[in-house]
């Protein structure tokens, strides 16, 4: 074990956080060839089965567990090499938790994660380390995710150091290369986060993820905090990098227009579960889950000549600490209401069912959805009643 790895910093304030401690020490460049074979394009790169992540709610003087947040509660999906798989859904539905769990940045409560054919659900931290560089994340918040006291050279270099690249010169070169890759100047290594705009900070976050040469990158709301004109710059960058570096993305977003433009397949999440899964074409043209229908209907269209009447859901998302019984969506479901509130939605949890070509939906009555049912639901809804949900 190395003693201290704090680099000398003649040009900046002292580090506020301790440096990453490096255990073991092979240089990154010597670690190739990896134990992991490259997965051919289109083949399954990541397989997730029965994944759960529950958080305890503790309270009281004795800090006892008084409840559980079912943040991710039984999720199955595959991600193919070279594709962009999007996760969409409202705030709190578990997107970030899912994204972090599959990278094992947080420990899943249950389930199996297979990466490039290898079950990584239970491997030790030591075994995980060489895999880390293959699986990276771009964090949700470009303002909060960069340590304000670290210069860019350390922000990006940190991960390289953790991977054993101890030679400062080599590391700095790699940092500069990654800055260039994301369209920033090589000289920026000495600057601090506050000296950059939101778009530039997001680029630094991307450079940090890419410096290690990953195969798969979880992009957690990479453009949500950005203005449209900057958003398109960052999306273009992600597209270019995907092509040039053969990347696979898990793209987390609540913006359905961005997802439609950017991704190949989509998983719609609701309260910790996947409600619907399919290609962009399947989901946007032929949504089979009433929640997906409502999400799509909620997108405001910038063309004023396409003003439409929306399907408006009732109430708020229930708490993930107390998900409704049966179908988790039943408390807000317009389809169930339209069908005369069948009991089955309350008593039996719907599982994902196949609708052909990989299109899956978890709704007992998915067959009832058509353009006609949707438009008649829109006609009969009362906008003023949409607040109804929880009893006072």
């Amino acid at each position: 074990m190395e003693s201290s790895t704090t680099p000398v910093r003649p040009d900046g304030p002292p580090p506020a956080t301790p440096e990453v401690v490096v255990e073991g020490g092979a240089d990154v460049t010597e670690m190739d060839p990896l134990e992991i074979a490259r997965v051919g394009a289109g083949k399954t790169l990541l397989q997730v089965r029965g994944l759960k992540k529950h958080f305890p709610i503790v309270g009281g003087l004795l800090r006892r567990q008084i409840g559980t947040v079912y943040a991710v509660d039984g999720v199955d999906f595959d991600v193919n090499s070279g594709e962009t798989f999007a996760l969409v859904g409202e705030s709190g539905c578990g997107k970030t938790t899912l994204g972090r769990s599959v990278l094992r940045l947080i420990e899943p409560t249950a389930g199996q994660i297979t990466f490039a054919g290898r079950d990584i659900s239970h491997i030790s931290a030591d075994e995980l380390r060489p895999l880390r560089r293959k699986m990276q994340i771009i964090f949700q918040d470009p303002f909060g995710s960069l340590n304000p006291r670290m210069p860019v050279s350390d922000l990006i270099g940190e991960g390289l150091l953790a991977q054993g690249m101890k030679d400062r010169k080599a590391r700095d070169k790699k940092v500069e290369d990654s800055l260039e890759l994301v369209g920033l100047r090589r000289e920026y290594t000495r600057r601090y986060p506050h000296e950059f705009s939101g778009g530039q900070r997001q680029r630094i976050g991307i450079a940090r993820a890419l410096a290690l040469g990953p195969d798969i990158v979880v992009c957690d709301e990479p453009v949500s905090a950005l203005d449209v004109s900057i958003q398109s710059q960052v999306l273009n960058l992600l597209l270019d990098l995907r092509r040039d570096l053969n990347l696979t993305y898990i793209f987390i977003s609540h913006n359905l227009s961005v997802v439609q433009y950017f991704s190949d397949r989509v998983g719609v999440m609701y309260l910790g579960r996947i409600a619907e899964l399919g290609s962009v074409e399947q989901l946007y043209k032929d949504p089979r889950h009433p929640y997906t229908v409502a999400l799509l209907s909620a997108i405001p269209d910038p063309n004023p000549r396409k003003r439409k009447k929306r399907l408006v859901l009732k109430g708020d998302v229930p708490s993930p600490a107390a998900p409704p019984a049966g179908c988790r969506f039943h408390t807000r479901c317009w389809l169930r209401e339209k069908l005369g509130n069948p009991e089955r939605c309350v008593t039996e949890e719907p599982q994902l069912r196949n609708f052909g070509g990989g299109h899956q939906t978890a709704c007992h009555f998915a067959e009832e959805i058509s353009a006609d049912t949707v438009s008649s639901a829109v006609e009969t809804q009362s906008v003023l009643e949409t607040a109804v949900a929880d009893p006072v």
Binding site: D227, V228, F262, P302, V383, L384, A387
Partner: protein, 363 residues
């Protein structure tokens, strides 16, 4: 709060009676350590009674400062009103005494803020807060004010309003709080409702609820609406007219049908081109190059010039005015709409059309 304001210069004539709000050459600057921020720099627009207007623009373009200036809610200093007049309901309000303004604010002119928690008082119930405002402005008894509070909650679709009035803000969800804010703003039947990013902090399905609610209310009451947002989709669905702001200035104005379908200022064109759409799948998005200018160091002439794909030497030398650029009062701040720029205009429009519909570059 604003107590003193620059000595009123001789005022212009009041606008015609059908104009509820007339903002004229408004300049709100901030004096800060590093220099002066021209946050709102010569903004003019007007709004007819019962109609709606949207203000769009990127972060920092001066949308909120415009609204806060109109409500006289800015601290002076650091804010400084350099110039301008604001006519509201037949009176000039930018220079009127603060006591007078307090009678208008929350009464004839009400505002919904982006973050409802910061504008609701956590230690009073929802009902107390609404009733207090009604009591003060409408000079009615407590009981009548309380009834009005319940009525307003009902108007915004809150179930069991007679029980909700007794709740505290923290007991409500984000969407419900935003409804309470709207109820509070509507409780005195304002002539103008200003909504600053009323849905930005909310989820898409809750955003849909609130937008539909605002539309319904606009139909049912005679209130005019000023909607501030950076979401062009929200503007397209909600308002009649729109002004587009960039770096403290209005760069384009007109009806939404004109501005969002046939934009005439290169900045608006660029914004619309950069929106991801299904047609652009597989290609790159067109992006506005660079970033918004540093407010301490604005480009000397056209503020968009460093980022504009159509700029030529005139744009770096002479600041453009707002020029007529289309039917129904559409105006654009761009030299392309002057005789000097006319020969360049067709090509710029064709270029915009191309970028709008297809992704380009890769794969």
């Amino acid at each position: 709060m604003t107590e003193v304001i620059a000595a009123p210069s001789p005022l212009g004539a009041p606008p015609p009676d059908n104009i509820l709000l007339d903002v004229r050459n408004l300049k709100t600057y901030f004096k800060v350590l590093d220099g002066v921020v021209p946050a709102v720099d010569g903004v003019s627009f007007s709004l007819e009674r019962g109609k709606s207007i949207g203000i769009v623009g990127e972060s920092g373009s001066g949308k909120s400062v415009s609204a806060l200036t109109m409500m006289r809610l800015l601290d002076i200093p650091p804010a400084e009103i350099r110039d301008g007049e604001i006519w509201f309901d037949g009176r000039e309000i930018l220079h009127m005494p603060m006591e007078e303004m307090r009678k208008i604010r929350g009464n004839d002119m009400a505002m919904i803020f982006q973050e409802p928690l910061t504008s609701l008082n956590p230690v009073f119930t929802v009902g107390d807060q609404i009733a207090e405002q009604v009591e003060r402005h409408k000079k009615v008894k407590r009981k009548a004010a309380w009834d009005r509070a319940i009525e307003s909650l009902q108007l915004v679709g809150i179930p069991s309003p007679e029980r909700r009035v007794k709740q505290y803000p923290h007991e409500l969800s984000g969407g419900m709080r935003q409804r309470v804010m709207i109820a509070m703003a509507l409780s005195c039947e304002p002539k103008l409702l200003i909504a600053d990013e009323p849905t930005t902090a909310l989820d898409v399905t809750i955003q849909a609820q609130i937008l539909e609610l605002l539309k319904t209310i606009q139909d049912r009451t005679d209130s005019a609406l000023m909607l501030i947002t950076h979401d062009l989709g929200v503007v397209a669905e909600m308002v009649d007219n729109v002004i587009v702001m960039y770096a403290g200035q209005v760069v384009e104005q007109g009806t939404v049908d004109e501005v969002l379908v046939n934009p005439r200022a290169p900045y608006t064109m660029g914004l619309l081109e950069s929106i991801p759409t299904v047609e652009k799948r597989g290609g790159r998005l067109s992006a506005i190059k660079g970033t918004v200018p540093n407010p301490f160091n604005m480009p000397p002439a056209c503020r968009f010039e460093p980022r504009c794909p159509y700029a030529w030497n005139l744009c770096a030398e002479t600041a453009p005015d707002l020029y007529p650029a289309g039917p129904h009062g559409q105006h654009a701040r761009c030299h392309l709409h002057t005789p000097a720029g006319a020969p360049r205009l067709p090509e710029a429009l064709a270029d915009h059309e191309r970028k709008l519909n297809v992704g380009h570059g890769i794969s």
